[in-house]
Symmetry: D2
């Protein structure tokens, strides 16, 4: 059994890791930390765990957690993992960071969008944890930077088009819509029920920090710099991200031809499902599961390819993908603990 | 492996059975029927099943389904199972009926609330499928009438009080609130999103057909006739039933004493969780799982005991309990396939 | 034109007062106060007011507001109005307090449920602002304690039964369900979208502070002490309260007879609508309006009368009723500014 | 007083017309028609109207309605108005058609997207009812084709950019999100609460019939043909459309410069509100009102202008705009009956 710790487990991502890991047949959850809930049983904070575990939150330093784990998930606010991850790594632990601190190969990009970085020397050690693009590097890796929620859906949605040079790379628009759990469990007026319910808005138009992350991976695939327009929106649902992506067609391909390219690109992927021509996915089809569903069409009138991808932001967009990465890092079957059927309605 | 058929699988209950059974380690789903979706793959009707199964809906008579199964779940509109169940039973199959046709020991009660019964001779053969009250009869049974959703939550919430004669049996009020999936997938104005969303209403006040079902089981426990006031309401959520129950205290017990009675009554139950004094459950704590969570308080000012129970109407209130019954009928561990953690948020 | 100030205008009640008063033909809104939003235009905090008014929040003492107004609405947290109201009253202003500080005729009751009272001598000066029960006292009054949201729906729902001695007063159960705006705009985990959405829960079972307020008014009608069981619940909608009320029938009246009693009791009321026998109201039928809709039935099987009332908690449950009171206090037509059609869907 | 009839009044658009017209100081509603609800009081179908009107639905031919009205609103399924409108027009009545039948200046475009047209000779008589673009033609007009909901938000959002040639007209992407009332009150699986709630999807990607309507008006402004990519999505809310629009900048204008262009373009418009730089609107700010709120930014990194517009699809997107048109056609103040403050929360 793997001994697993979750460092910073009191948010929605932490509890989603727990929901999945508690049923993972090769994992023992040995510690969970939280400053706020120190000493309090997990099931008091999240009653779904009542009678499933007696574990309590600890307020523990990395040094205290190190002896308790083989693998640690960091589910910390952005900027906090950069001080913590190196300690676990230096102690020989496998680390999966669910924040942004180590997602960028280029420190400058990180610092332009996020501010100063305290451990730039560890950036190169981290593998970007999108198995569909980097599986070989993830196998056996010690340090993984788990992708952001928006980037996961957007990159998976665009990768085949970029790889096969199907679209004009300067024409890409990514219009994304996220459920509210993406904003976390922090107290802010904008996350109150009455502010969100029956509402819909765009936010951080053109300036969201997930933009450079999407660009990094698309540029990696294209082997040249790509810039995109990215607009996130807030949907009054708990879970789910749907991204609608547009690009000018370069090759006059038909919808079935492009669908075929996608089927091919993702042929052996356990968690990507390509829809037939003319079918577009709903976030409700992936709720609670690790799938990314993708629909594609070519709009002949305008010469644009339109791609729609959906994920559960807490699963494939966070905790599920982190476990998929853990499985790869530790030599376990990639889908262990992740064979959950989506819950509907 | 058990060969399992679902007869009438195109509603929300049918698909919830499929969500759970598809991950049940001792079950093969051999056929699913639907007149409406004949020949159509399950995953076209419910996209959550995409790439998980290639099974298609059949429009098949009981005679055609009999050779395909050891166990059959009937998820039919009320009144249709009474013609179908006897055929499966006579062929030696185990039958779990999720409708109301065989829930009443007394044909007269059935006919007063539902209308004429076509197979009254089979009523006595059916065991009422609430394991917490009838486990011994369910073990190895051939024919189970799965309880209604409201009755499950209400009976589990009141049983210890009735059993221990803690309340005046003529004083019971059951005020229940259900999510919308309880209304099924039929087309009706009242189930449209815009009619339900941002709304809340009572319906069938004093005349809902689940009333006599609750009364039957409470009377069984009390060994005398009990009548209750029952008011169902519609909550704009997908899943969940919360029942708030009131009864005049007979014994001057304190809240901790009554909580203790509940803990005792449900001590070894795998799917009932009693809350500490002063804690009341939320339907979101049982979403997707087979749990019934119960909170209790004594209101000293008025001398009333107030009990709040929650279930997921599609799981403990339908498909999950049906599988729990199947496990008991077939000698499998009772919680097989049901060790699902609730999904939150 | 009446000069009107809103003291404490940054919550949902404050903005609802503004929504209605801005279209009131006899009112000039001369000042709105908020410590938090001092100097900020109202339309920056609540964008619905963009281009409708240039008014800004002031952080002003009562002394500074006094010269600006004829009438002041106090929309303050409980406990704050007791220091503020006397100053306005002593300066000869008309005061409508939307909090609980002056709702109780009996200081002891207030102090038992809320804690110490700083201005007990002003309690007797306040009229309880439920026009359907106290219209004559409200006409021309200087000081009104606007009822709580739950009490408004519960009292209106039960008053005719109490008045006509139709039920056993010791048998009353009030099971209420409120939308989330009732919790206000304060930051708390329990008000976050993801905590509330797709959930439903009871809270403060048997101990909610609106209990004695309901009891006070029912006892006033009965001319003897009444105690009730009261359970509030949280519904995932923005607005609306539905109360389901139960009492043992004393007189063997039929449903049509009781409906007739209600129609009679509320014959000339502009804001109470009695449903026909067998029809029960939905909160969505009163959204945004000042109506209280009431449905009634007699459950012959159990001898209980069941009443369902609905209001919009922000309108008839707060701001709308406050304006109705202002109209009465100032000799204006009672429904001025309140002839709003409910918004559906 | 204007005598007004609503022909086809049983859907959400019909009832929204009634909500607004019932408070319009210059209108008498003389008849409302519905085949389905013939003889039934309006308030039985839509309880919000209880005690506000005794009007009943008639099942009446145009010939029967003609003597009852000066103005008729047609709120019929697409394709039905083309047989009805000419009768009212020939009888000298003013007609506002809320469907698509007469929105296109070019019959061929209509027939390509909708099918055959029965009254093509009347197409030229209709004015496209977007006051912000066609006010002069609407004043005193007899026949108005009220715009579609998506086109209203999209055209208002893009018009200043097109007019001032700020963007490359071949680069336009319109990504729209609509509340569920846009789908009407018809019974369909996809409109059921459980199918929509907690879901989000794109539909009719690239093939929605509102596309040519948006293109017609943008082309009119540009004086040359414009084609756009248009993707509608379904948001789980009752009301509201938010459109996010993208175009390649042609002029290197800054955000404040473009905001200034918008302020100028809409300077005297009573129902368009331009947000300051960096502020983007939420559909909840226009709920129930006739406003269109617009936010704009320039994304310097990609050289794209991004515009976000919001409307209430039932008000500015249907009934409110129809009344605005009626006011213009009949020489009344343009905002009569439309000075409603948005309702929040």
């Amino acid at each position: 059994m793997l001994k697993v710790s979750i460092y910073g487990a009191s948010g929605y991502t932490g509890q989603e890791l727990l929901r999945l890991l508690i049923r993972h047949s090769r994992v023992d959850i040995t510690s969970i930390t939280s400053r706020k809930y120190k000493g309090i049983p997990l099931s008091d904070v999240f009653p779904v765990f009542k009678e499933l575990t007696a574990i309590k939150f600890m307020d523990a330093s990395p040094e205290e957690v190190i002896p308790l784990c083989d693998v640690v998930f960091l589910a910390l606010p952005h900027g906090e993992a950069m001080a913590v991850a190196p300690k676990f790594l230096n102690a020989g632990k496998k680390v999966i960071d669910l924040g942004a601190d180590f997602r960028f190969r280029d420190v400058d990009t990180y610092e332009r969008w996020y501010g100063g970085h305290a451990s730039p020397e560890f950036i190169k050690k981290a593998v970007y944890g999108l198995p569909e693009l980097h599986r070989d590097s993830l196998k056996g890796a010690d340090f993984v930077a788990n992708p952001g929620c928006y980037p996961t859906g957007a990159i998976l949605g665009l990768a085949p088009l970029i790889q096969h040079e199907c679209i004009d790379n300067s024409s890409i628009v990514v219009d994304s819509k996220s459920g509210v759990s993406g904003a976390g469990r922090e107290l802010q007026i904008g996350s109150l029920f009455c502010e969100v319910n029956e509402g819909f808005k765009a936010y951080k138009v053109g300036v969201h920090r997930h933009t450079p992350e999407i660009e990094q991976e698309l540029s990696f695939l294209a082997k040249k710099d790509i810039k995109i327009s990215f607009t996130p929106h807030l949907v009054p649902v708990n879970r789910g991200i749907l991204s609608t992506m547009y690009g000018k067609s370069r090759k006059n391909l038909t919808t079935p031809e492009i669908v075929h390219i996608y089927e091919d690109f993702y042929r052996d992927e356990p968690f990507v499902r390509i829809q037939e021509s003319g079918v577009f996915p709903n976030i409700s089809s992936v709720r609670g599961s690790n799938y990314c569903d993708i629909g594609i069409t070519v709009d002949d009138r305008t010469g644009r390819v339109v791609v729609v991808s959906v994920i559960d932001n807490l699963v494939k967009g966070a905790a599920g993908q982190a476990i998929q990465n853990m499985n790869l890092m530790c030599g376990l079957p990639e889908n262990l603990g992740l064979d959950v059927v989506s819950i509907f309605p």
